[in-house]
């Protein structure tokens, strides 16, 4: 019983940490982008402020049952995936035990599918609202997802085959024992995964899904108030999840929170930098982009992993 | 007066003679007498088959002259099967065409006489033991077939009959020449004695005789290069006659080929050639059938194809193969009969008799089109119907002989068969009928005939043992000719 209490407490803390980190990264990015476009830009905590404003809205409209469920799907997916990501190495620091990784070390294939759970739920909600823009946004999002999944899967399969395991925990232990980060032991898979992460975050070059000017922020265009707030928090938790996943798989996993923060922030900056300099791709260009060099790199990584 | 095989021939000839006279007094007699004759045929075959089952092959001498000199009639399992089949088909055809009138209302006296002659001639071929006598019966069948083909006064009937006559006279010339050469070499015309003496003939002459027989009888059993006449004859003859052609006349030709191949000469010489001929016939016939627009011509080509497969089975020559051939002939007779009968009424008033004319026929003639659909399902060889078993046994016999490429071709051809039969069924069931379709419902006798055939198809399909052991005995009797020769020749010792 006592272990269970710790686990629940740990779960709540993990969610809060993930939520906080996700939001602040969003704020920092907005600040940096503004600085690059030499304007002042909002405070780092702008996201929190927006969230509070949204949550405080008294009346909000919803378009039927699925519209009501859409934000719940996202937040559920975010929290569930969070539960199965091993956030920190079971190391010395006192608070390591708080970050629970449920008994079966988080299986990679389960994660691949769970991430889709969230976006499918949102897509259904968007469809129910009846707004054509949201439907177009959803189709673009799903098509782009097919695009970047290929290099991502190639990278993951290379890892799985090489180390004969499908769980993240084992890959972390391999990196811990060998001391060599996966980034260096099979660089091609890492590069392929990195390209895939560009698509995953739906940041500037691949932000056609919610293209602000054209589609009035795509799938979420009909959601206001609490719904939008829940969606935003879900989105930021997802950002944190993806970052920790990459850190665990390729950067040797973190031993302590600060180390985790540094690594995740570094990783997060790559798509942001890339986004600043690239114009927005059309959907088929994005798909062709992902099926081009990233897939080739992934295949090379896979071949190396096999032989 | 005990029933003997000669009744098969004597009674119908007498009846044929009486009909013109009697019909002077009362018009209907022309219709009733053939019925009596055919039912008497059924009685004879029933009695004789029972007698054969307990005493073995019956050999009856005619006019007192004993076997090698006089003509003798032989009635065993093998000939019995053919005779019974022919009399059943004959009876059913007569019953189906009871209401049959020529164009005007006068009952077609000539039609009934010719029909009776056709069936009697074929039964004659089947039960005679003398080779020249078989030739004479072949000619009787041929001549009555010419006149039946040209029965309708229209233009095409005469053309089809003339072509048939032209080719059939070639066949009679060749068979007569072969019989003559056989006589000069062996000095006898009796099949049983011939089989004992045939090895005396020098090899090259024996082969020539064999080739003449194959070509002569090949014309009758519609082998590939020789069957130019067949599609025309089938399509121009009246529908019931088409069923008799498919069910009876072709069987006569094939019986003669089997008797020549198995009893007189030794089969393995010509087996290979027959096999290849049969294969080519099937392929070309089925391929031509798929392109046909007229229903009866399509049925003609399909029955040529079926006969090709039977010829292949004969070519293989083993006892199983002969059993499969007999089973296929049985199936072909009843299924093709059903198909011809049902098309007869479905296309009763249409002149061109094309498939397009059968559009949406199922709405107006539900039972008839059901019968046609059942027939096409059976002939293609789908399981619950009898066609499947005969195809299965044929393939098993071919598999024993390791002829896999041939099996592949036969199966490919049966896919072609599926296409054109189901296409017709599709036209019948799944198109809207145009109003002009005449709604002349067939009489009760036609329904009875078709119902009996359909019941037979399903009965044999569900429980094939009804006739398989009977056919095994016939196949055994053909392939082991010693018993046949014994009973015929021992006659004159007694």
């Amino acid at each position: 019983m006592e272990g269970l209490a710790i686990k629940i407490l740990g779960a709540v803390i993990t969610t809060i940490v993930a939520f906080a980190v996700g939001m602040t990264y969003g704020g920092i990015t907005r600040k940096l982008t503004a600085r690059v476009q030499n304007r002042v830009g909002p405070t780092i905590f702008q996201n929190f402020i927006d969230l509070l404003k949204l949550q405080s809205k008294k009346t909000n409209i919803y378009h039927g049952v699925m519209g009501h469920f859409a934000p719940m799907w996202i937040i559920t997916a975010a929290i569930t995936v969070l539960m199965f990501i091993p956030v920190l190495h079971p190391g010395t620091a006192w608070y390591n035990s708080w970050f629970p990784n449920l008994s079966f070390h988080g299986d990679l294939i389960f994660l691949l599918y769970m991430m889709v759970f969230g976006s499918l739920g949102m897509a259904l909600g968007a469809g129910q609202t009846g707004n054509p823009n949201s439907a177009i946004g959803v189709t673009r999002g799903l098509s782009q997802m097919v695009g970047f999944e290929i290099p991502f899967v190639l990278a993951l399969v290379a890892l799985m085959v090489q180390y004969q395991t499908t769980s993240i925990q084992d890959i972390m232990t391999v990196q811990r024992e060998s001391g060599v980060w996966m980034m260096f032991s099979n660089p091609f898979s890492f590069l392929a995964a990195l390209f895939a992460s560009l698509g995953m975050f739906r940041y500037s070059p691949f932000d056609i899904v919610g293209a602000p000017a054209e589609l009035a922020s795509g799938p979420v265009s009909e959601f206001g108030g609490k719904y939008l707030g829940t969606m935003m928090s879900g989105g930021s938790i997802f950002a944190f999840i993806k970052l920790t996943l990459y850190v665990d798989l390729f950067l040797g996993g973190a031993y302590s929170i600060p180390e985790l923060l540094i690594k995740t922030f570094a990783l997060y900056m790559i798509p942001v930098f890339y986004g600043w300099v690239n114009p927005r791709y059309r959907t088929e260009q994005a798909i062709r982009y992902f099926w081009g060099w990233p897939t080739a790199l992934g295949v090379i990584g896979l071949l190396i992993a096999i032989f | 007066m005990s029933i003997t095989p000669v009744h098969y021939i004597a009674v119908p000839l007498a009846a044929a003679f009486l009909i013109p006279i009697l019909s002077k007094f009362h018009k209907e007699t022309a219709r009733i007498i053939p019925g009596l004759v055919f039912s008497y045929f059924l009685v004879i075959s029933f009695v004789l088959m029972r007698q054969v089952s307990n005493t073995g092959i019956i050999s009856e001498t005619i006019a007192g002259w004993r076997a090698p000199w006089g003509i003798n009639l032989v009635f065993g399992y093998f000939s019995g099967f053919f005779a019974t089949l022919m009399s059943v088909i004959g009876f059913l055809t007569w019953l189906y065409s009871y209401r049959f009138k020529l164009v005007d209302s006068k009952p077609a006296m000539s039609y009934y006489i010719l029909l009776m002659m056709l069936v009697t001639g074929s039964i004659g071929i089947v039960i005679t033991g003398d080779i020249f006598n078989m030739f004479v019966f072949l000619e009787i069948v041929a001549i009555s077939a010419f006149s039946l083909t040209s029965f309708y006064p229209g233009r095409d009937g005469a053309e089809a009959a003339f072509k048939y006559l032209l080719i059939a006279s070639f066949s009679s010339f060749l068979i007569l020449l072969a019989v003559l050469l056989l006589y000069t070499q062996t000095g006898t015309l009796n099949i049983a004695e011939l089989s004992t003496k045939v090895h005396l003939i020098p090899q090259s002459l024996k082969l020539t005789i064999l080739v003449m027989f194959v070509v002569g009888l090949g014309i009758e059993s519609e082998l590939f290069p020789l069957n130019g006449w067949a599609p025309d004859a089938y399509s121009q003859a009246p529908a019931p006659v088409g069923a008799v052609f498919a069910g009876v006349v072709v069987k006569g030709g094939i019986y003669a080929t089997m008797r020549v191949m198995f009893t007189m000469f030794d089969i393995n010489e010509m087996g290979q050639i027959l096999l290849i001929l049969g294969l080519i016939t099937t392929i070309i016939a089925e391929v031509a059938a798929i392109k046909q627009t007229q229903v009866k011509r399509m049925l003609a080509y399909s029955s040529i194809g079926q006969m090709g497969v039977v010829m292949m089975a004969i070519g293989i020559g083993t006892e199983d193969a002969v059993f499969a051939a007999l089973f296929m002939m049985f199936n072909h007779a009843i299924i093709k009969g059903l198909l011809f009968f049902s098309t007869g009424f479905l296309l009763h008033n249409s002149l061109t008799k094309t498939i397009a004319e059968m559009k949406g026929v199922a709405k107006k003639f539900p039972v008839l089109s059901f019968m046609f659909a059942l027939g096409s399902f059976a002939i293609v060889g789908l399981p619950p119907f009898s066609g499947f078993w005969s195809k299965l046994y044929f393939l098993m016999a071919a598999a024993d002989a390791k002829l896999f490429s041939m099996i592949a071709l036969v199966l490919a051809v049966s896919i072609v068969e599926i296409v054109y039969y189901f296409r017709v069924v599709g036209v019948m069931y799944y198109h809207q009928p145009d109003e002009s379709l005449p709604t002349k419902q067939p009489g009760l006798n036609a329904y009875f005939v078709m119902g009996f055939l359909a019941a037979l198809i399903i009965g044999v399909g569900v429980y094939p043992d009804l006739i398989t052991n009977f056919l095994h005995a016939a196949a055994y009797e053909l392939t082991h000719k010693t018993e046949y020769v014994q009973t015929v020749l021992t006659q004159f010792v007694r």
């Binding site: 378009h63 009846g130 997802m145 | -």
Partner: protein, 620 residues
């Protein structure tokens, strides 16, 4: 009277009675069909396991029918799905005419399927296979629409498959003169079957026609769309699994038992298995791509069935215990969710008139139950975690990765990701988006149609967290096939490398998180929230008019189609069209031999006579 024979008898006689009863009253055939299937089901489930074997010797051949553990799994599928479909059909076929023929053929094909699964010798296997084929043919053409392209092509492809099988049976017969499957397996073990390779390739050809593998799948989309929805559930749910059953029979029981000492046999099995697996993978990918661009919901589902069958074929073809378990699990699952989907499409077609997605949209308010059922089966089709689809997909991936064919994993993953696209397409196409004016009158489908669908949906949800319910019969079946220890627990999946996925944890976490979010949102926003229709949307300023329907239906995945355009270029049907035209011209040429001139026929006779004489003289 042996119970197995009794079951078959009930079904076949029920078919005949249903056919004749149409004359009595329009409503009777569907009732009789339902009653006979229930009777068969009760008889099957109440009698003990060992009573199911039945010997019959007829026409010189002996037929043995036996339901062992492995075929029992398929019998569950057949009886279960057809029972539910017949319950559904009572409502669905209400005002249609010619119901007699429909139920006659339905019962006949169900009987045929039971026969196939129970057949222990090749001839009865073939007999039931043909009965199943032609009875399903008669249902495919039941509506009579487009008879030539759908009906004739279906019959020709199934005939090709069936006759390839017959050819193989004859090859086996010519070697060991028996049709009994157990004797054949023994003969293979002792290498007394020289024609093994050709026979197994032909058999697999026949089965892959029915399982709609890539080059032979052309008939499937049209056939599944044309058949009435009540039957398509059985048709694509279970009838296609007969191809899988056959493949399992050949690959797992026949070739598997070849003793490994003989290198060629193991090589053959591995070699054939690999080719079949790759065929399955390519089928899955291409069929999913074609499913994306369809506008008719039933056609989309048909292509998706072809894709799902591709996954199942991969599982069977790989041959490791985990992959076979995955494929059997997926097979049963596919029967469930594809059955539900087709029944749902039938309900939509019956209520809203058409399943063409460009004509109807926004039915979620009118047909909530149908939407719920479609949602559940789509989620499990896509393989998203809480439901059972994920379990099947997970096992398939683990099997592929642990078995080392990694590139196949990528192809399968590509097709399953693309599956999300068409899953969303069908949900959005019919149920979401703005309402059409003329579908305002649409009411929910009657209870007799909703009930079976809801039962199947609940089953899918239950299997999501407790896959053990289905693992138990599969494991028993596989032990019969000879796979020794298949490790499974009630809720935990594990692969060869020891990695496990505990479904209980997943479901509880999702459940807890969902309820928490639900409470948070509904309670907090209860007072102020206002439910507005789908017309009150902010489309950058303008307000859509009342009759204007802005739902985005046409060219739904055009960008994806443009991106993957090289994959769409080669259309398989074109190849078959050219082939059939070529054959047609050849046939037209050959029939010209009969020129119609009597004299030429006479000439043929003379030439043939001379040729034969010369040939015979010098050869014999």
């Amino acid at each position: 009277m042996n119970t197995l024979a009794l079951i078959l008898l009930i079904l076949f006689s029920g078919a005949i009675v249903a056919f004749l009863s149409e004359k009595v009253s329009k409503f009777l055939p569907s009732l009789i069909a339902f009653i006979s299937i229930t009777a068969a089901g009760i008889l099957f489930y109440t009698s003990p396991a060992d009573v199911f074997n039945f010997k019959l010797s007829m026409a010189g051949l002996n037929f043995t029918l036996k339901i062992d553990e492995f075929s029992r799994l398929f019998v569950h599928m057949i009886i279960g799905l057809s029972w539910l479909a017949s319950m559904y059909a009572v409502g669905y076929m209400q005002n249609k005419e010619r119901q007699g023929t429909f139920f006659f053929n339905m019962l006949l094909s169900i009987g045929g399927m039971l026969g196939i699964v129970a057949a222990r010798d090749l001839v009865s296997f073939f007999v039931f296979w043909e009965i199943m084929t032609w009875s399903s043919f008669l249902i495919v053409v039941w509506t009579g629409a487009d008879f030539r392209r759908t009906g004739i092509w279906y019959m020709v492809f199934s005939a090709m498959g069936a006759y390839a099988m017959l050819m193989a049976i004859m090859m086996i017969y010519s070697d060991i003169h028996t049709f009994n499957i157990d004797e054949i397996i023994a003969a293979i073990a002792e290498q007394r079957l020289p024609h093994l390779v050709e026979a197994s390739v032909l058999l697999l050809f026949g089965f892959s026609v029915k399982a709609a593998l890539m080059p032979l799948h052309v008939w499937a989309p049209n056939a599944y769309t044309q058949a009435p929805a009540a039957y398509t559930a059985i048709f694509s749910g279970v009838l296609s699994k007969m191809g899988i059953f056959g493949m399992a029979l050949v690959l797992l029981s026949m070739l598997k038992f070849a003793n490994p000492a003989d290198f060629s046999l193991v090589y053959i099995n591995g070699f054939i298995g690999q080719i079949l697996a790759w065929l399955g993978a390519i089928t899955a990918a291409i069929a999913t791509l074609y499913a994306l661009i369809q506008t008719d919901a039933k056609k989309l589902l048909a292509y998706s069935s072809v894709a799902q069958l591709g996954y199942i074929t991969i599982g069977i073809a790989i041959g490791t215990p985990l992959s076979v378990m995955a494929s059997l699990f997926l097979a049963v699952l596919h029967a469930l969710f594809k059955g539900t989907l087709f029944l749902a499409m039938g309900a939509v077609e019956r209520q809203a008139g058409t399943t063409d997605m460009t004509k109807i949209s926004g039915l979620i308010r009118r047909m909530p139950w149908t939407f719920f059922v479609t949602l559940v089966s789509i989620i499990s089709l896509a393989g998203v975690p809480p439901l059972a689809g994920f379990v099947g997909k997970w096992m398939l991936y683990e099997a592929l990765i642990t078995n080392g064919n990694v590139f196949m994993v990528v192809v399968v993953f590509f097709s399953s990701t693309a599956a999300f696209l068409y899953s969303y397409r069908i949900l959005f196409g019919i149920f979401l988006g703005q309402e059409e004016d003329d579908t305002a009158h649409v009411k929910e489908a009657p209870l007799s149609m909703i009930l079976p669908m809801v039962v199947m949906a609940l089953l899918l949800i239950a299997l999501g967290t407790y896959p053990g319910l289905l693992f138990d019969p599969i494991a028993q079946g596989m032990t019969v096939l000879g796979f020794e220890n298949v490790t499974w627990q009630m809720t935990v999946l594990s692969n060869v490398w020891g990695n496990t996925v505990n479904l209980m944890y997943i479901s509880t976490t999702i459940g807890v998180a969902f309820v928490a979010a639900l409470l948070f949102l509904t309670l907090k926003g209860r007072k102020g929230s206002r439910n507005v229709g789908t017309k009150d949307i902010s489309t950058s300023g303008e307000i859509p008019l009342e009759h204007e329907n802005l739902t985005y239906q046409l060219d739904f995945f055009k960008p994806f189609e443009r991106a993957a355009s090289p994959l769409y270029r080669r259309k398989m049907t074109k190849i078959y069209d050219d082939l059939s035209n070529g054959l047609d011209a050849l046939f037209d040429f050959t029939r010209k031999i009969y020129t119609g001139n009597g004299q030429t026929y006479a000439l043929y006779v003379v030439i043939f006579l001379v040729a034969l004489l010369i040939y015979v003289q010098n050869t014999l």
